[in-house]
Symmetry: C2
Subunit: 225 residues, 2 copies
DNA sequence: ACCTGAACACCGTTCAAGT
DNA sequence: ACCTGAACACCGTTCAAGT
């Protein structure tokens, strides 16, 4: 017996490539959330020190961007329905992926990922707009706007982190606080239309956001001022 | 001489109230960015330990939310122009405040602030929509959408943190990377309309986002499915 | 009752030194 | 050349103990 195996049965040594780092990060994120997928934690999982990761990724933000693009590889391509239905399916897919894991959408907003999968998605969305007869310039900015909204909406509705405080206080307390604040503040219109403001399911809201934006994008020419 | 004064000439002792904590946090943020406005840093500025702050604020997120609402007190009310012009001025003001300090918009997206100043802003925006003859239900969701876009847009275009890497690499490298990625990826439409995709000033884009959304909001009824 | 020192359990990133 | 131990300079939050 030359030496006892460390921990469990590890085959020789992990390769430690960029892809392996990304996959490990995704694994941790799926199990414990993006908040736990830190450099130090990923390094530990890879049986090395955090410094080693910097050979393959520039920093934490770049690693998270790579994770996002990797996950974006899972967006499906809807073949049925008209261009608007297919565009809705595409953007909803994008949003669902970002909303599934806390922090992912927040990261996407900050680091502006531009990996191959996002570009492919952008290209498909542009294609659907153009198929719908929308001017390419409007289509380009329209896709930007749609993805911005999808990302922001995902950031808002992302499930809370694993170790989150007061899960029960979530919805009721928020409504109470809102209702109380509305009454306390000088917000007569909010008070009057409180049902409209707070009403609707997240799903219904998202669909309406999409439809409203599609209508506006198609109808609003890009000015040259 | 009973005892030597600590550091510089401090008058007796700071009051250490919630408002004083918020003001101190804003001061640090203005000078060094939100990233530096940590519990520990604020406590140090207040000549106490971080634990003391928890008597007045629940946690870092709540403190940052309070800071945002405080800053939102500075939104001006435009009196000239039609309802769309005034709404644009209002939402642009909101966006400008969030974009001025890095991290602020990012925080706003996560913590969903609902302080009195935000509620007042929401109420004013609703009022302008209703003045424009927009259905209240559409107005309510419309304001939500507009603020979501403004916040997300601010998060994207926020000035980089004080201690930021490669400022020169910013715009050119981003364009190069984008252009290269477009060529490398299978993104023919992106490649064809690259000028439209990357074109326009942030200001011009924001105005177009606003106009497109206004048009869509006014034209899209909230369905009851 | 109100406040806080000290501790707990973490971070990202760098760099000199090793193989 | 490639890799990394150890250090640097931080974090948020809690809680037992003090006044």
């Amino acid at each position: 017996m030359p030496e006892p195996r460390s921990r469990r049965d590890r085959p020789a040594k992990p390769p430690l490539s960029r892809q392996w780092i990304i996959d490990t990060t995704i694994g941790i994120m799926r199990r414990e959330g993006l908040g736990k997928a830190t450099m130090r934690r990923v390094a530990k999982e890879l049986d090395t020190g955090p410094a080693s990761l910097y050979v393959y990724v520039r920093n934490t933000a770049e690693l998270h961007a790579a994770v996002i693009d990797e996950l974006l590889g899972a967006v499906t391509v809807q073949e049925q329905g008209d261009w608007q239905d297919r565009l809705l399916a595409l953007v909803t897919d994008y949003r669902t992926i970002l909303a599934a894991h806390p922090g992912l959408a927040r990261s996407a907003l900050v680091i502006r990922p531009s990996g191959p999968h996002l570009l492919a998605l952008f290209d498909r969305a542009m294609g659907l707009f153009i198929e719908g007869g929308v001017d390419p310039a409007q289509a380009a900015w329209g896709v930007d706007l749609l993805l911005l909204t999808a990302t922001a909406s995902a950031a808002e509705h992302a499930e809370p982190e694993d170790g989150d405080v007061d899960a029960d206080t979530d919805a009721p307390a928020k409504c109470d606080a809102m209702a109380e604040a509305v009454r306390a503040a000088e917000a007569p219109l909010l008070a009057e239309h409180v049902d409209a403001v707070l009403g609707g399911t997240p799903q219904g809201r998202w669909t309406w956001y999409f439809r409203a934006q599609i209508a506006g994008i198609a109808a609003t020419p890009t000015s040259n001022d």
